[in-house]
Subunit: 501 residues, 2 copies
């Protein structure tokens, strides 16, 4: 390793350590911090964030970066140094474009909008939120202009979460997804009662849930020697480095199934971070490459593995051991049908695997219109209702159940929603490619064993961290750019069987 | 508030935030961090420590400090700005005296000595540890020379933990303590069987211990809205600011009483930190003023309150509710005698309230001799055995049970041990003064109610944080400098009754 690059790495280690310390402060805030500790914690996070920002945008770092680029000019494109320098250069140049005036104004706007959103949602009062959302849209537009773009403004926002992906590409795959799965949803809508999920709606003791969640995380390969399962209100996962990646879930007597699937979901995210190659640890490449690829790993474990019949044929005995009374008389087939019930509904976070994408496509279409100025914020509630009717055949009676349900837009986080569905699509594409490349994977999965699939994911996705942009990673792993077909095939087969279509 | 002082405060807030973030990383390491996370955590702590050190010793801070001192030259000695500037000046000048060469060498020596200590203790092999301890003694001597001192070298070390206190002062009060309590220990030694504590040596279910520990912490006034009880191997408390002060204990079936008293002890420390005045938060004054005063607060709650008959007359019903089988047939008087059994023994951390001080006086005498060069490390094991015989009438058969039992000296932490006994002495002096100043406090304590005592401590000790040096604080609160008499009176009365002396 050459001298300038080594010096740069040392600076990157320092910045990473500060960022990961912020992550620890954040984790502790959600898990164990007492309620009155919030003001002090906010100050600690703000101080470390300012230090990290200063280190990340210093002239000194810029000089060292330029020197390292010169030194490594001949490095192979796929090598770690070349990937590292590309990544650091991109982030450095981007961060330097934003004046501290913009950063401060941005915090002020999103801070006020977040508070206004929470209140308007509670009061079902869109009008009081409207000026704040208008300010957030303007802020996102300004943000896009500062970053720049080739084709359309929304590209700049999307690329913050899914580096290099164009809005036109997403529109194209979403169009296929829509044309292929809306009819499927509508067909299932005719036979909603074919699946009975009442067995899931009982009281499940929390101690037993805790034990089952621990078991479930281990069953898919989450490494507890390098992790911890915490308890929170809103589940998340977080990484402090490849050897300390935590998951969380929430426990309530009525949430047995949701606590288990939250754990599988977060374990999917966490195994991605646990699987990053050692030499990328403590650097900007030592984490998942994009929101969409990250979500593909969580969805894959939660849905493709965790909601499969094979998985439960193996693990149902353990589940009934923990909940003998609740599951008395239930067969594994009945349980498998119950956890895959499709139900068009109003709330995104409660949606099933199939209708979830409809919620996302709706948001994707609306936020493009907002950002390119075709839709006024004032007209948003009505546009929301119309799209819900078109995509899901249901419409909210109140804005609280409609346009006010998500926090994202108040934070000017436009371009994030599509990555949820991109995750679903990538996950199906990865599983299809893995099965094609190694025929034993399909047979293993049918027996509930995901060990070989995990090894494939480790080799083709996890170990690379952020070395490759998502599109490049997808193509390397599957031999093709992103396409909706594998997901369409997967849901057709799965729900065709469950609903006898 | 004037301009330069305000600017200085802002810098102090930043430094404090980084230091408290390090404390959060440390807490998480002891409580929830997975075993493989240690290397990453060590890097994070080292990075934040380097940042804190750089901020604390910068020329910029020095210039601002000098300007603020000039601006506040007329401030009242007792005012917060005057106390703040005295404290910051002292720390700044001290830290600037140590070269980074010394800091690095110091880490290397104590790192190696710590590892050698652990191994030699396990193997009962003092000889292999001896050169490391010699290096640690030399390091402490060098440290003292860099800091400087008026009367004797040990003063410089003691003052790191008990600011401003002279070794001669400690020798004087310890001499009284020794002459008054060694005969008491010897007298009790004649009637050891007078107290039966077999009821404490049973299996106590951990869930019930957990509930009782929570109850105990609340019973003495620990505020859970600003705290959290964690589970660890070696109990400690830690503060991230006055509104987030955590306590810990350890649970094992055979440790019911020790888990409860550990909680009371740590709650005493924590209430000191929770009680610091709001305007001192996020500054160097926003914490306890010395190790001795800190220990006085923990010992006071653990022993003067927690081992009193009044406390258990009020709370014994709750205890028996949690452990009905274990305590069946036991009276509160029997329980009170059992938790106050005196037993001269070899191990400091297992010692009772009375003999504990003998362990400390032994260490205090030996470490003075080591630091001033009168005792060679090679002769330490033998000196240890002789002193144990003199002070406690027992002598260790092995060095593991003797000179190798504590980690402190391997860390070159000389001057720390005496603060444990100083804490016992201060605690008795505080309680005596409180009772004298408010006669209802004695009556309340006899009924197990420590509310008024806590209010007295808050007013006279807690709220001041580090505004005053320990000696000044003690004199303000009790009207007298430190004296052993209140402690001697306390143990004479208590153990005289229990052992019918």
């Amino acid at each position: 390793m050459s001298q300038k690059y080594a010096q740069l790495l040392e600076k990157l280690h320092t910045i990473n350590d500060v960022e990961k310390s912020i992550a620890v402060l954040g984790w502790d805030r959600e898990t164990y911090m007492p309620i009155e500790g919030n003001a002090g914690r906010t100050a600690q996070v703000a101080t470390l964030s300012a230090i990290a920002h200063e280190l990340s945008t210093s002239d000194e770092l810029g000089d060292l970066l330029a020197a390292a680029e010169q030194e490594q000019a001949g490095a192979d494109y796929d090598s770690t140094p070349a990937s590292m320098l590309r990544s650091v250069r991109r982030t450095y140049d981007e961060q330097r474009r934003f004046s501290s005036e913009f950063v401060k104004r941005s915090s002020a706007i999103t801070g006020a909008a977040g508070a206004a959103w929470a209140k308007s949602r509670q009061d079902n009062d869109f009008a009081s939120y409207q000026p704040h959302l208008e300010a957030a849209v303007s802020l996102a537009q300004e943000f896009a202009e500062i970053l720049g773009y080739e084709d359309e403004k929304y590209d700049a926002l999307l690329s913050q979460h899914e580096r290099g992906l164009k809005t036109a590409d997403v529109r194209r795959v979403f169009a296929t997804l829509k044309s292929e799965t809306v009819p499927l949803v509508m067909a299932i809508g005719e036979k909603l009662d074919a699946v009975d999920d009442r067995m899931l709606k009982q009281d499940f003791p929390i101690e037993a849930q805790r034990a089952m969640c621990h078991y479930a995380a281990e069953s898919v390969g989450y490494d507890f020697k390098r992790g911890h399962l915490g308890e929170v209100h809103h589940p998340f996962s977080t990484s402090f480095g490849r050897n300390d990646v935590r998951i969380t879930t929430r426990f309530a007597p009525e949430f047995a199934v949701s606590s288990i699937f939250a754990v599988l979901h977060e374990a999917g995210h966490a195994m991605y971070e646990q699987g990053v190659a050692e030499d990328l640890d403590r650097t900007p490449l030592g984490r998942g490459t994009s929101s969409g690829i990250h979500e593909s790993q969580s969805r894959l474990i939660e849905n493709q593995v965790g909601r499969s019949l094979g998985y439960w044929q193996l693990h149902f005995p353990e589940l009934t051991r923990h909940f003998p009374k609740q599951l008395a008389g239930a067969s594994v087939e009945q349980f498998h049908r119950a956890i895959n019930k499709v139900q068009p509904s109003l709330i995104r976070v409660e949606a099933d695997e199939l209708t979830y994408n409809m919620h996302i496509m709706l948001r994707f279409e609306l936020e493009q219109s907002l950002i390119n100025g075709e839709l006024r914020v004032a007209d948003l509630p009505e546009a929301w209702r119309a799209k819900m009717q078109e995509l899901l055949g249901v419409a909210p009676k109140t804005d609280t159940e409609g346009v006010l349900q998500d926090v994202h837009w108040s934070q000017a986080a436009f371009g994030y929603f599509p990555t949820y569905t991109l995750g679903n699509l990538y996950s199906a594409q990865f599983v299809a490619a893995a099965k094609q490349q190694d025929s034993s994977i399909e047979a293993d999965l049918a027996k509930g064993d995901s060990t070989r699939l995990l090894a494939w994911l480790h080799k083709n996705v996890h170990q690379h961290g952020s070395k490759f942009d998502p599109a490049a990673l997808c193509e390397r792993a599957t031999g093709s750019t992103l396409t909706a077909q594998p997901f369409v095939d997967y849901v057709r087969e799965k729900y065709g069987a469950i609903y006898s279509l």
